[in-house]
């Protein structure tokens, strides 16, 4: 249709009708509160009045000893949480996907379904189940380690500050490994047979076929998984809260930005909640996630070559 034709047309109200409900709900409940939170981070309550303080809350969060120690601790822990996911979850996900995608493998539907089971469970279940299983009181883990002669390795992992965060990260990996597995599996299946046949004709088979042909072709999917993991990790809260409580014990060793935000916003024990500092932390999380997503969209995604078959 040409532009002049479009001008003659009456207003197409149905487009507005189709768009209105989604746009209204999305704007009112998601976009406006997001900006509202960013705005609240620039204010402080003084004698029950909201006073504009500019970036002072951020200065306090980064620099004031009462806040900065908890903040940098949470940020550091969160980064470690993310690193463990990238090092363990994604390589294992690729491995399982590669194994599952071999065409002659039997029971592959069963494996796929079973490995995905933890992903559908709620954090409450996952947190408590692992807490019970790792509990020295119940003794399932020490008994099992004993059976293979490794009992000396056992420690109450969730209770020791030096192990707790890594243990929780691995529990989170256990829960979410199904997602990278499935996405990579899908990407591997979509590689055309001709490409693989051509590789075989050239004598590229087995492992070298995986490294030289398949892995480069699924790199865009690995990119998507990395950014999904990044957003999910820097927004995580539930698992730590159910397994360790709002205090993210022992001694804040498992505190991440999500639990720190919750405690600041709602208060805990003797400290009362502070919506303005809560907003400040949420804004920092927003900026971190925005930076990660932008880096992915403009820095990585455009450089990954996509193959159209």
């Amino acid at each position: 249709m040409s532009a002049s034709e479009e001008k003659k047309r009456p207003v197409r109200w149905h487009i507005a009708v189709f768009l209105a409900p989604a746009v209204l709900v999305y704007t009112a409940i998601m976009i406006l509160p997001l900006f509202g939170t960013l705005q609240l981070s620039l204010f402080r309550e003084v004698e029950q009045q909201q006073v504009f303080v500019g970036f002072d809350n951020f200065r306090i969060l980064f620099g004031d000893p009462r806040w900065s120690e908890s903040f940098w601790n949470a940020l550091f822990n969160n980064t470690w949480f993310f690193i463990i996911h990238m090092l363990v979850q994604n390589p294992l996900g690729v491995l399982f996907a590669a194994l599952l995608s071999s065409p002659k493998l039997r029971f592959s539907v069963f494996y796929r379904t079973a490995i995905f089971v933890p992903t559908i469970l709620s954090f409450v279940i996952v947190g408590f189940v692992w807490k019970l299983i790792l509990s020295p009181l119940w003794g399932i883990t020490p008994d099992m380690l004993d059976a293979i002669g490794l009992k000396s390795l056992f420690a109450p992992w969730l209770g020791k500050p030096e192990y707790a965060l890594t243990t929780l990260s691995l529990i989170s990996v256990w829960q979410f490994i199904g997602i990278p597995m499935m996405l990579i599996y899908a990407a591997l299946l979509s590689i055309p047979d001709e490409v693989l046949e051509a590789a075989e004709c050239d004598g590229v088979t087995g492992m070298s076929q995986f490294w030289k042909i398949k892995l480069p072709l699924v790199l865009p999917s690995i990119g998507i998984i990395s950014i999904l993991t990044f957003v999910g990790n820097f927004n995580a809260f539930d698992l730590i809260y159910t397994a360790q409580g709002a205090l993210a014990g022992p001694n804040y060793a498992t505190d991440i930005l999500g639990t720190f935000l919750y405690r600041t916003f709602f208060g805990f024990q003797l400290q009362i909640g502070d919506p303005n500092m809560g907003s400040t932390i949420a804004s920092v999380m927003f900026l971190i996630i925005l930076a990660g997503v932008s880096l992915y969209l403009f820095g990585i995604q455009t450089r990954l070559r996509r193959y159209q078959f």
Binding site: P33, L105, L132, D238, M285, V293
Partner: protein, 279 residues
């Protein structure tokens, strides 16, 4: 011959790795469920054995059913999930139709605006969302949760559905227009039935995070009569933490509905994730 042995070893190794991880994935769930049917003594004496006539006991389930209001929690979760899902699918399909069917000024911009929410989690706006809910008197109502989850689910739903609707043939819709169908009827009668498979995929993706969410029930609706099953189980287990029978039974009761749903919908879910890969 050498090649055959080689591939046999390889497939054996593949099975060994996958089977080992399957055990790791399922073991915790199985341990919890079998121990929930045992007496307290047996839970500690032999945690890995199946319940037999001596150790079988339903005492945990009795405590759970007597103490917690799990039926109410379950009902709340069901209402919140089903109603949010309905709105996500309806509003999402409408917006996706507008974006994929009509050319209008700002189409691309609107698409980008609506896609923002896929990457930026709604949780970051919690402080202002709570303020909004307090101002409108919606705190401790299921409506608050339904509104939040509808907003949360829309971006991905619109994205997936509009990708799908772009592939529908234009001839069919034009034929409908020639027959005098209004745009609304074309959407309801022609387009909606055709995108049903994509709707099912979106439904599964939307449903799981809503059912499992702890953050918003904890903040927006922590009252006894509006607790969802996820929050209810969390609070109950926190209170009964030393009563192992009760904790194990509560966990099993929380696992079972999800597991049953998963077994029913796993094909749909997996097909959804691997969509586009099926040639």
């Amino acid at each position: 011959m050498a090649k055959a042995t080689h591939s046999l070893t390889r497939s054996f190794a593949a099975h060994a790795i996958l089977a080992a991880y399957t055990v790791i994935a399922l073991f915790p769930v199985v341990v919890i469920i079998i121990n929930s049917f045992k007496s307290r003594k047996a839970i500690f004496r032999s945690p890995l054995s199946l319940p037999d006539r001596d150790s079988f006991s339903l005492i945990g389930y009795e405590t759970v059913l007597a103490q917690g209001d799990f039926f109410l929690y379950f009902q709340n979760s069901l209402i919140v999930t089903v109603v949010s899902l309905f709105f996500v699918l309806l509003f999402g399909a409408m917006a996706a139709f507008a974006l994929s069917e009509y050319r209008f000024r700002g189409n691309t911009l609107m698409g980008l605006y609506l896609a923002l929410g896929i990457m930026i989690p709604i949780r970051l706006g919690t402080v202002a969302i709570l303020k909004l809910m307090v101002a409108s008197g919606l705190v401790n109502t299921l409506t608050a949760l339904i509104l939040v989850y509808t907003a949360q689910g829309l971006p991905l739903a619109i994205f997936i559905l509009s990708e799908f609707m772009r592939q529908l043939s234009a001839d069919l819709k034009d034929a409908g227009r020639i027959d005098g169908l209004s745009e609304y009827r074309i959407f309801l009668r022609l387009v909606l039935p055709l995108v049903r498979p994509a709707m099912a995929t979106v439904a599964v993706f939307t449903m799981i995070p809503i059912w499992n969410d702890l953050w918003f029930p904890l903040i927006l609706a922590p009252a006894e009569e509006t607790k969802t099953i996820t929050l209810g189980a969390q609070v109950f287990i926190g209170q009964f933490v030393t009563n192992w029978n009760a904790v194990l039974s509560a966990l099993s009761l929380a696992i079972l509905p999800v597991l049953v749903l998963y077994v029913i919908f796993s094909r749909q879910l997996i097909r959804g994730i691997t969509a586009g890969a099926v040639k």
